[in-house]
């Protein structure tokens, strides 16, 4: 997948898979910390009338964010079946149509020229 690092080029920080693994581990650890904070903070609900009590339950924002993104990606993936077309989709239409139009216009021009030659 990745192009090989050209010879003589300095190795960059993410060229080393160990660094990437370390980043992911740190990230997972901070996710756990960020989630656990919920148990120690008395959150103040933006719904003053209590219309959405779910919002006050522990880990609401964590699971909502996670589920939202998974749903987003899975739905978008399915959308591709319906809406995805080849990159040249609109270009092809253009060339076909303009060719067709050019041809019909040229045919008319020729007709008109002939008409003028005949002298009407």
């Amino acid at each position: 997948m990745s192009a090989p690092t050209p010879p003589g080029e300095k190795r960059h920080v993410w060229d080393d898979p160990a660094n990437v693994r370390r980043l992911i581990r740190w990230f997972l650890a901070s996710c756990v910390v960020v989630a656990l904070v919920d148990l120690f903070v008395d959150r103040h609900s933006p719904f003053e009338g209590g219309e959405l009590s779910l919002e006050g339950t522990p880990f609401f924002y964590a699971w909502y964010g996670f589920v939202a993104c998974v749903v987003l990606v899975l739905v978008a993936k399915q959308m591709r079946r319906v809406v995805m077309r080849d990159e040249s989709y609109y270009q092809e239409e253009r060339t076909e149509e303009s060719r067709e139009q050019n041809e019909s216009e040229r045919a008319e021009e020729i007709e008109e020229e002939r008409g003028e030659e005949r002298g009407d």
Binding site: S2, A35, V41, A62, V70, L72, Y89, E108
Partner: protein, 574 residues
């Protein structure tokens, strides 16, 4: 601010420095033009700071009193914002050697300033159309066939939007006897026509494709100009004319939701940003729908921040396009190695649009959401929360990740030119500055603000939402579920205009055009008779000789022109 500088010199109309400065800068060459490009927006801003809330100026034209200047806190905020945006975009485009782009860029900014200070619908219409005509050159200036055609489509849409506005203004005059542009109820043809005109420029759902079609076709610097003025002028007009309109809450929530699905599967990273822009405008439209108070304040504050962070993201992508000639996610990756500054600035923009604490999006987007919750609108709030997670996913992570990290594309482009880095640097500083010290922005808002973004609850909630959105991305990417970037086109609502309508209308319109040409001869012979009859129509006895009300004339002229435009467009084959 105004007090400190007040009375320094008498202010001219705020649009004039930009419009006149554009002409002077275009006449100059080389170094002199570069200096002028940066100086003109600064002089304009200084002038705008002399204008006070409550200032008004009218001119009399053909018996009508036209209010060319109406200043209040709402128009002043947008006025300042457009000067800052013009200043940043001018620095960003200093390396460009193209008189047309420089001239039209500043004229475009001047038109936007003129529009937000317009006190009545006719002045608004004039600047509305000027916006359309001056902005299209940022697309055409790329000088490739695809941009030429995208520009034609863009212009058709925007000129039509202006015609709707003119028709709406004419009917409004007849209904109310006034041309003043004030808040209106959504009742009657006039208000619907005006809303449609604003809705097109605001990229309402189904009317949005000019944005995702046109912006990716613009020059690397052109998109930065485009992203700053057109949609934000529309947001201003919506805030002025339709604040508190219930329907807008649902329109805005739809705008915040649907583009993020497209953004996930879109390959062209500037089009991803286009979709993300519609998503952000969705938050503003919801805020405007929620009405006076915190909703409107949040919408306006978010418009201010969006111009800067979205501009910054478009700047970063413009730099990538300039240096590599590529903008598709499938072709890029690993650019952090040779473009570390651009990568860093891009991540500041990404953090701002994602509303991380200490970045600008955090202090404005939440005002809209807090107001939705305050009014007890559970479904809207859940939709906006979904959109907040989604925007981090596609703009916050996808843009920097696929351009600068992901797999190594093997590309080793040079770092962006110095002027681009300076423009991105100032934008990044503004993003962090506003995020850390929001009081400066809050002071400019149209209504008194009693909002505290930095509460423990808000910081914790937003951090959790964003971290777990990122966790979802990480999991989907590592497990291979995440859809790969593919070279492709995704059908959107413009398919209707570009495929369905031409298929249905194309043959009859083309046949009509052929018929027209053939019948020219016949018409010629009939012309003499027509001249005789026309003379009679226009005589005092004829229908056209009667005095027509100006409003009615404008309405029919607008309608006729719109039909001619559509005819010409489809005759050429869409």
């Amino acid at each position: 601010m105004t007090e400190a500088l007040g009375g320094l010199f008498p202010a001219v109309h705020p649009a004039l420095p930009l419009l006149i400065g554009a002409l002077v800068a275009a006449a100059a060459g080389g170094r002199a033009r570069q200096v002028l490009l940066v100086a003109v927006p600064l002089v304009g801003l200084l002038n705008a700071l002399q204008v006070d809330a409550g200032d008004s100026r009218t001119v009399t034209l053909a018996g009508y009193q036209l209010e060319v200047l109406r200043a209040d806190k709402l128009s002043l905020l947008f006025g300042y914002l457009f000067h800052i945006a013009a200043f940043l975009a001018a620095i960003y485009s200093l390396h460009v050697r193209d008189r047309v782009q420089h001239l039209t860029g500043l004229l475009y900014a001047g038109s936007a300033v003129g529009a937000v200070f317009a006190g009545d619908l006719i002045v608004l219409f004039v600047f509305w159309e000027l916006l359309a005509v001056t902005s299209v050159f940022q697309i055409w200036a790329r000088r490739v066939p695809e941009s030429l055609r995208a520009g034609q489509r863009y212009l058709l849409v925007h000129v039509s939007s202006g015609l709707l506005l003119l028709a709406g203004a004419a009917l409004h005059l007849r209904e109310t006897g006034s041309l003043a542009f004030e808040r209106m109820e959504l009742a009657g043809a006039a208000s619907w026509l005006i809303l449609a005109a604003i809705g097109i420029k605001c990229a309402f759902p189904l009317l949005h494709t000019w944005l995702t079609d046109g912006y990716p076709a613009a020059t690397p610097t052109g998109t930065v100009f485009l992203s700053s003025f057109t949609t934000k002028t529309a947001v201003y007009a919506l805030a002025r004319g339709f604040a508190g309109t219930e329907e807008l809450i649902w329109v805005g929530a739809a705008m915040a939701m649907f583009p993020i699905f497209y953004a996930v599967i879109e390959n062209d990273l500037r089009r991803v940003l286009g979709y993300s822009m519609i998503n952000q405008i969705g938050f503003m439209v919801v805020g405007i729908g929620l009405g006076e108070g915190m909703g409107l304040n949040g919408a306006v504050a978010h418009a201010f921040n969006d111009v800067i962070f979205k501009g910054l993201l478009f700047m970063a992508m413009g730099a990538v396009l300039l240096r590599t000639g590529k903008i598709d996610g499938s072709e890029l990756g690993g650019l952090y190695k040779t473009m570390p500054w651009t990568a860093g600035f891009c991540m500041v923009g990404a953090a701002s649009i994602s509303a991380f604490p200490l970045f600008s999006g955090f202090v404005s987007k939440s005002m809209v959401m807090a107001e939705a919750a305050h009014e007890g609108r559970v479904v809207i709030w859940l939709m906006l929360l979904f959109a907040s997670a989604g925007v981090f996913h596609h703009a916050g992570i996808k843009i920097p990740f696929f351009a600068f990290f992901a797999h190594d594309s093997g590309l080793r482009p040079r770092e962006a030119p110095l002027n681009m880095r300076v423009a991105m640097g100032i934008s990044a500083v503004l993003c962090v500055g506003i995020g850390c010290f929001p009081a400066a922005l809050y002071r400019l808002l149209p209504q008194e603000v009693a909002y505290q973004p930095y509460t423990i609850s808000h910081v914790v909630e937003q951090t959790q939402l964003l971290f777990f959105s990122a966790l979802a991305f990480t999991w989907l990417k590592l497990s291979g579920i995440y859809p790969p970037e593919l070279r492709s086109v995704n059908l959107d609502a413009d398919w209707l205009a570009r495929r369905l309508v031409p298929a249905a209308l194309g043959p009859p319109v083309r046949a009509a055009a052929r018929g027209w040409r053939r019948s020219v001869g016949l018409v010629r012979s009939g012309i003499e008779g027509l001249v005789r009859r026309t003379k009679w129509w226009h005589s005092p006895a004829g229908r056209l000789g009667e005095p027509w009300p100006a409003g009615e004339t404008a309405f029919w002229a607008a309608l006729l022109f719109a039909l001619l435009l559509l005819f010409a467009f489809y005759q050429r084959g869409g």
